[in-house]
Subunit: 484 residues, 2 copies
């Protein structure tokens, strides 16, 4: 039953924008389908790798949140004091404080920040995190996390490069270059800008703003501009005996050797680029750190438009101590966040260029043409037949719908047209819509003498009722093949 769903959605968007609170949005129709597709794809990969899903209440005891976010605490939404416990809305997704866990969570979080809808900054938005917590052998959870990331983007049909670095190597490089202990974090945050600004500007920031000596900055520059295949880059660093005398660099490189053998076993070594400029802003990382950058997407391969620049679409690394914040012992942890908004933006752009599964809510539209009645029972019976076969189908909920009405409601790739003559011969007509660019109404109706007349160029193929399900499935499969 189609009705005017498209119009409804348009109205809906409007009506909702008027009534949702500032910085929040409704999700409906095709946006929600794509969002759910992303979430379900990610979940399926996580579960295949033994990650445990987790869902927590949307509000938490305020005591648990208090003191956790520093000055950002002003962005926390509090519930009103209506008696009982004091609670606040979830500010981010928290790793449960247990000894060993692989868990993931995809859920909304809440921040009373200034919203900027055009830039996608909302007060209610999704986060998607997964974590492997526990004391395990070196690099084993880390490589599993990397493998999961690769599988997620493969499942989403997105190509990525993993930019990877090791906190110990970076800190060792800074030490070896002569950066004073208390300035390592300052230097680190300057280096982290190398993907956006040139080395000369980064150096300027170090020297002018952070008080690093010019020659120290130059020595840093030699290393942090290194990047490339992980094996080659390890070799370059190992050949620098002065650098390798630094205990942190040595420990980091030993980790990297181990990692390479594991990446090989996981068959993902070519996805990784060892990039010494990657520093990740946050202080709490202690081992491997990485960012996932989209490379060519299928949209770019085929479309003429330039790639949407979204930066990293996932990031994470190893840290220790954070999980155990409320427990007795800090628990080492590998944690990754997926940038689900950015992933949505990229996949939405790709979808807009080529019609796909997620473009059409309904695949088959069943209509009646000719005859004195509207063939409602027959439309119902055909719909039922298709539903039983798992096919998405609809018809207009009118006893005698006008043909024009039915064509206007028709948005899917296939239509089945019932007529009394064809039905008498045990047949229906099946029409394939050529593409999204084709006008929706494929029929011109002339009102000659009050009676609706149909002008159709393509009357579609005649299909026997008995073969209908099979033929619809074949056509849908063919459309999908054409699309991918």
């Amino acid at each position: 039953m189609a009705g005017d769903n498209d119009t409804a959605l348009a109205q809906q968007g409007q009506a909702f924008q008027l009534k949702t609170p500032k910085g929040t949005r409704d999700w409906a129709g095709r946006d929600l389908l794509l969002r759910d597709h992303i979430f379900q794809t990610i979940s399926a990969v996580f579960q295949r790798n033994g990650e445990i899903p987790l869902d927590t209440p949307v509000f938490e005891l305020r005591d648990v949140l208090a003191g956790k976010y520093g000055e950002d605490s002003r962005l926390i939404y509090d519930l009103d004091d209506q008696g009982g416990e004091r609670c606040s809305l979830r500010y981010d997704l928290t790793v449960p404080n247990v000894k060993h866990i692989k868990r993931y969570q995809i859920a909304k979080v809440y921040r009373r920040d200034q919203p900027a809808i055009s830039r996608g900054r909302l007060r209610e938005f999704y986060q998607c995190d997964f974590d492997i917590a526990g004391v395990y052998d070196p690099m084993v959870p880390d490589v599993e996390a990397l493998r999961v990331i690769v599988e997620v983007f493969r499942a989403l049909g997105m190509e990525i490069t993993i930019k990877l670095n090791h906190r110990k190597i970076l800190d060792g490089v800074f030490e070896a270059a002569g950066v004073p202990e208390d300035k390592i974090r300052l230097v680190s945050s300057a280096v982290d800008k190398l993907d956006k600004i040139a080395w000369a500007d980064v150096k300027k920031e170090m020297v002018d703003e952070k008080g690093i000596a010019g020659e120290v900055a130059d020595r840093i520059g030699e290393y942090v501009r290194l990047s490339g295949g992980i094996r080659d880059t390890i070799k370059v660093l190992r050949s620098d005996l002065g650098l390798c005398a630094n205990a942190k660099v040595k420990a980091g490189l030993d980790d990297m050797d181990l990692l390479v053998s594991y990446l090989d076993a996981m068959d993902i070594v070519d996805t990784v680029s060892f990039d010494l400029s990657l520093a990740r802003g946050l202080d709490y990382y202690s081992g491997l750190i990485y960012e996932m950058i989209p490379t060519t997407t299928s949209a770019n391969q085929r479309g003429k438009s330039s790639q949407i620049q979204v930066g990293s679409i996932a990031a994470g690394g190893r840290y220790g101590g954070l999980v155990g914040m409320y427990g007795k012992h800090p628990i080492p942890c590998v944690g990754i966040s997926f940038g689900v908004d950015r992933i949505f933006t990229l996949l939405d752009a790709r979808r807009n260029k080529s019609p796909s599964e997620l473009t059409h809510e309904v695949h088959v539209y069943i209509m009646s043409a000719g005859g004195k009645d509207g063939l409602l029972l027959e439309r119902m019976a055909v719909a039922r037949q298709l539903w039983d076969a798992g096919i998405r189908a609809e018809y207009t909920a009118k006893v005698k719908p006008k043909l024009q009405q039915q064509f206007n409601a028709f948005t899917g790739p296939l239509s089945i047209i019932l007529g009394p003559d064809e039905l008498a011969a045990g047949q229906v007509r099946l029409k394939v819509r050529a593409g999204d660019k084709e006008p929706r109404a494929q029929v011109q109706s002339k009102n000659s003498g009050g009676k609706e007349e149909v002008v159709e160029k393509d009357r579609g193929q005649l299909v026997s009722r008995d073969d209908l399900v099979e033929e619809v499935k074949r056509q849908l499969a063919a459309l999908t093949l054409e699309q991918d």
Copy 2:
């Protein structure tokens, strides 16, 4: 990578119960898997029938909620006044106020009610609603809703009966029996108790508490105890010429005749029972009303335990005027709510009786036995091979795990055991766990002279590495076949 996920989950349950706000709970592991399975199954059916998914913000402008829930407004959670708009948490799922829409929403709602965890009453819980709003031809949206309901429960593997009645017929029966206009709602709510208490008690309530004359109650009793197949029951009512003189009864029976022809076209007429005692408490229904009752479930067919009594697991009907509350015109609507908590309870009980897909987070556990090293790279390579084939697999994240450790972590139905001799011959051992009742450790380790020795009765089958994926898939398919 398995670790101690089971222990973790146990700890987790405990840790979380300590820290979630009163009346809320965490969802994790197998409960969440089942919950998501239910939601995804329902969503897939809705989408197949052209329903548009909808997701709204968890908090709403307080003005929109105000005055909507009468004295229940005290149960609404308000957000604290931190400047800006006044907001409250979503109290229930609201149908968007548009002219035509088929929408569904599965989301959490919030009520500051007294929680009763043991009876499943929480302050944060899920609702699952779908609605068809708009002016359509009589009974067409109604029959589509009924068909969707049947398809949902079929997809969940649950058998149901639809108890159905028509508000107009019920009101007409009360009129014809001589109930004064102003007492119709009172009588109606008494009749609605007929599925729980005997007619004698219902009559007593009418006469003693609601001031209905005894002979009026007796006349009501003649009709409201009627129930059975929809065709037969229509026939019985049609044969009562006195009753059919009532305009409401006549209009309702005409609707029912139309409905029967549509139910036939949809092939669901046998699922429906016309039950004149069904009254549904709420005043706002104006046409068809129905409740879905679980009949035999597969758990009952196979298990010895008695059926869990949960009452109706979905309910709904036609109403008008509610949707348009904030618009200009009331919009007629068919609305159905699924009792997702009750559905969860039934499916969880069934799952506990027979191991199934949703019992095990991971299907295959890869371990090493014998040899000097722990064969980590080989375990990784096998895991990667299985993941690539879409199989859920794990291994212990230790370089040299103890065999006992690995068996303790093993919860899935299949294990793959790597040994140096087998690997040298291009083979692995594949073991099927006999059933959930079997002790988890299938191995006794004797510590003779500090070295771990394995006592295994069943050493599993030898499988070539090349055939491994195929054989695992075959075994998993066989297990599923045995389970269903």
